[in-house]
């Protein structure tokens, strides 16, 4: 059947199972928008194209399915760049569709012409320029395949206006991807399995490093089975949180720059590291020269380019984590590691069981308490979407995630402004889930225009602004490393409660610890968007902290506790 390129876009998206797209119109994409009205597609009108990409990303992270964002050429497309780079660094499967000027005008600096495939070449898994209606369907089909398979990632499709306007035969079956070189399906060599088993057998002080690959390959069960069978404790990356239940007795908690002290010490003392779907980010390893000096390393990762990138490993098992563990598990010997687990317990001391809620109220409101209260009130069952900064680290420390995809955060790029739009995407993907945004007063203001999207689309989410009047994480670095010279970090903020009301949402201000729980309850009981302005201690810092590039065991600890918190001890 004959269709215009514009129609083929929607025919194809529907066949890919897409029911919602996030976008913003403009001249070069107008034919597609016009055709959209003929199809059962939900379109979320964002307020900035960066928001559309983060929403698609939040949608993808909440479900594992491809999220779709759409924008016009030129400024519409370049506004997507931050969101695409964010998805790239955290391997999130999104497809971005942009309009482009007519194919005859390409290269002429036409109105709103940007070489967006050139611009996004290093920050997409792959991208396409489509200049003919005939190519629309095969390209979309291929793009979804590339985005979602292997190590996922963002894919951009730039479609010229004439390709949208002209007609072509639409044949979905014929549009099947024919990728001759692309091979996402890797399997390890048998000899490497043998080597891995030998190392596991000989280990006395093993630690599993659990990353986002667990969530992406849905390998939580296999990881737990491995850990239980071999009595191996598990350390989590930020992006792995939720992949293994925080409540599991072998789960030690988060590693790295702001990880628990005992976790980093255990890694430094380990004699075997089992890296499961994690990429040894520099926030995880600290100084590479002194990283885990006694440990042999086994790396399971789907991307061969990650092997020996930062940390040289002894054995690499390149493949899908779940498949590799299923293969490996029957061959690994049962073990006890009593001494090692006792040693780790000793490192923990009583800090791990100390409950911050039992600490006396000294009249100050701390972010840790706010986040811990949100965790308690939601029974740990919410999807929490965080922004970037101190609040992000406190969330990781004080909200205990027991299920995969319940924490959505920008780890690799650390994109401020991510949280609110990503939460909108997550809520649309999982309408029955309770979704909380935990965001700093700085990052919130980067994309707060999306409150209008919350209003227009009637999105039922709760936004907790951890308002410390500073670009807190940067202020902390200035305190630690720049003798408290607070260059450009103090914020003069708008009245967030009134701001929420201006958007037709509910606003609540909280200044005291006793007000936290009632505010959280009010927000939970309210249908529709709620913004809570938690005015917290201004100069609190995240502890422990491994300074960038320092040895992992060289943690800065809280000097004289204003508030003692579990992670500090």
């Amino acid at each position: 059947m004959k269709r215009t390129g514009a129609q083929i876009i929607w025919e194809s998206l529907l066949r890919q199972g897409v029911s919602t797209v996030f976008g913003y119109p403009g001249g070069a994409i107008l034919p597609a928008y016009d055709a959209m009205t003929q199809y059962p597609m939900r379109h979320i009108l964002v307020r900035h194209e960066q928001g559309a990409t983060h929403m698609a990303d939040g949608f993808a992270r909440a479900t594992g399915q491809v999220g779709v964002a759409i924008a016009t050429s030129g400024p519409g497309a370049t506004n997507m760049v931050t969101g695409i780079a964010t998805a790239m660094l955290d391997s999130s499967p999104i497809v971005c569709i942009t309009g482009q000027v007519g194919s005859k005008l390409i290269g002429s600096d036409a109105f709103q012409e940007t070489d967006i495939t050139g611009v996004t070449l290093p920050i997409t898994k792959h991208n396409y320029l489509v200049t003919r209606a005939d190519d629309v369907a095969p390209t979309i089909r291929e793009a979804f395949h590339v985005a979602a398979s292997g190590r996922p990632g963002p894919v951009l499709i730039d479609i010229t206006k004439d390709a949208q306007q002209s007609s072509a035969e639409f044949d979905w079956d014929a549009a099947e991807p024919k990728l001759r070189g692309y091979r996402p399906d890797r399997r390890p060599a048998p000899v490497d399995y043998q080597k891995a088993i030998a190392l596991i057998k000989n280990a006395r002080r093993p630690v599993i490093l659990a990353g986002r690959g667990i969530i992406q390959s849905e390998a939580g069960q296999q990881v737990v089975a491995f850990a239980e069978r071999t009595q191996t404790p598990i350390a989590m990356t930020l992006l792995g949180l939720g992949g293994v239940a925080a409540s599991h007795e072998l789960n030690l908690g988060m590693m790295g720059m702001h990880g628990e002290a005992w976790v980093n010490t255990a890694i430094q003392e380990a004699d075997l590291l089992l890296a499961f779907g994690m990429r040894f980010d520099d926030r995880v390893t600290g100084n590479l020269k002194t990283y885990a000096p006694h440990a042999k390393k086994i790396h399971i990762d789907i991307d061969p380019a990650e092997i020996n990138k930062n940390v040289p490993v002894d054995v690499a098992l390149v493949g899908d984590l779940r498949e590799v563990l299923v293969e490996l598990l029957p061959h690994v010997p049962v073990a006890e590691h009593v001494e090692w687990l006792a040693r780790i317990n000793e490192l923990k001391g009583d800090s791990a069981v100390r409950d911050i809620q039992n600490l006396p109220d000294n009249g100050h409101l701390y972010a840790a308490h706010v986040i811990n209260d949100i965790w308690r009130e939601t029974d740990g069952n919410a999807i929490v979407v965080t922004d970037v900064g101190q609040h992000q680290m406190w969330e990781a420390q004080y909200y205990k995630h027991n299920t995969p995809r319940s924490l959505i955060t920008s780890g690799g790029l650390g994109t401020m402004g991510f949280a609110l739009p990503a939460a909108i995407g997550a809520k649309i993907a999982k309408p029955d889930a309770e979704v909380w945004v935990v965001v700093g007063d700085g990052g919130f203001q980067m994309t707060m225009c999306e409150l209008a999207t919350v209003m227009q689309e009637n999105i039922d989410i709760n936004v907790a602004i951890i308002n410390n009047g500073f670009l807190g994480m940067v202020r902390q670095w200035q305190e630690f490393f720049y003798e408290k010279r607070y260059a450009a970090t103090p914020l003069v903020n708008p009245n967030f409660t009134k701001l929420a009301e201006a958007f037709g949402l509910t606003g609540i201000t909280v200044t005291k610890r006793g007000e936290v729980v009632p505010a959280v309850r009010a927000a939970r009981n309210h249908k529709g968007g709620v913004v809570i302005d938690f005015q917290v201690e201004q100069e609190d810092s995240v502890y422990p902290m491994v300074p960038a590039g320092a040895d992992l065991h060289a943690m800065i600890r809280r000097p004289s506790p204003i508030v003692e918190t579990a992670a500090d001890a």
């Binding site: 001759r180 070189g181 890797r186 991307d303 092997i307 020996n308 690499a316």
Partner: protein, 183 residues
């Protein structure tokens, strides 16, 4: 050390850009890159020479594979291979020196491809080393202009499959399971 990679890619616009961009972005050092058609329509072949230790070379290879338009990468550094570069060198030549230059070129099996009153063009094919040595002996006469291709390379002996198409179409299109990435 220098590694020679033979990379087969889809003959599509922008592929060279993707490969070059990858080297720049990952801060891999390209010594030379050449690209051209192959015996199979739709498939281009690149010869990439890069400076890397063995572990880094593995990562270069793995990263090139990540490009969707890349069909196959062979690191032929340790294989017996024929490697060639081509150079054209324009040398200042008077009546007195012309004969001498042509003789020297002969020793290197280089050809004189153009002669004018005060210069001539010498064309040489061979290893980079050989070209360097010819250059050394020509320099005293005055090298006016030079153009060099990058290196092209081909492994000696028969290939595992007769035709490129066969190799990319069938089972072989996928990474043979069991390639070891451990070093």
């Amino acid at each position: 050390m220098l590694h020679t990679l033979v990379v087969y890619v889809e003959d599509k616009p922008g592929v060279l850009n993707r490969v070059a961009s990858l080297f720049r972005r990952r801060a891999f050092n390209i010594d030379s890159l050449t690209v051209g058609h192959t015996e199979t329509p739709g498939v281009s072949r690149m010869t990439i020479v890069c400076d890397a230790d063995p572990a880094a070379a593995r990562r270069v290879e793995a990263n090139i594979y990540k490009l969707v338009d890349v069909l196959r990468v062979d690191d032929i550094t340790d294989q017996p291979a024929v490697e060639r570069e081509l150079a054209m060198i324009k040398v200042a030549a008077s009546h007195e020196t012309r004969g001498q230059i042509i003789q020297l070129a002969d020793v290197f099996r280089a050809r004189t491809v153009d002669v004018s009153n005060d210069s001539l063009i010498v064309e040489i094919t061979g290893s980079g080393d050989k070209i360097e040595r010819l250059l050394d002996v020509l320099k005293p006469f005055g090298v006016l202009e030079m153009v060099r291709t990058g290196r092209v390379a081909m492994a000696r002996g028969p290939r595992p499959a007769s035709k490129l198409e066969d190799r990319f179409a069938g089972e072989d299109a996928h990474e043979e399971p069991g390639v070891s990435y451990s070093v």
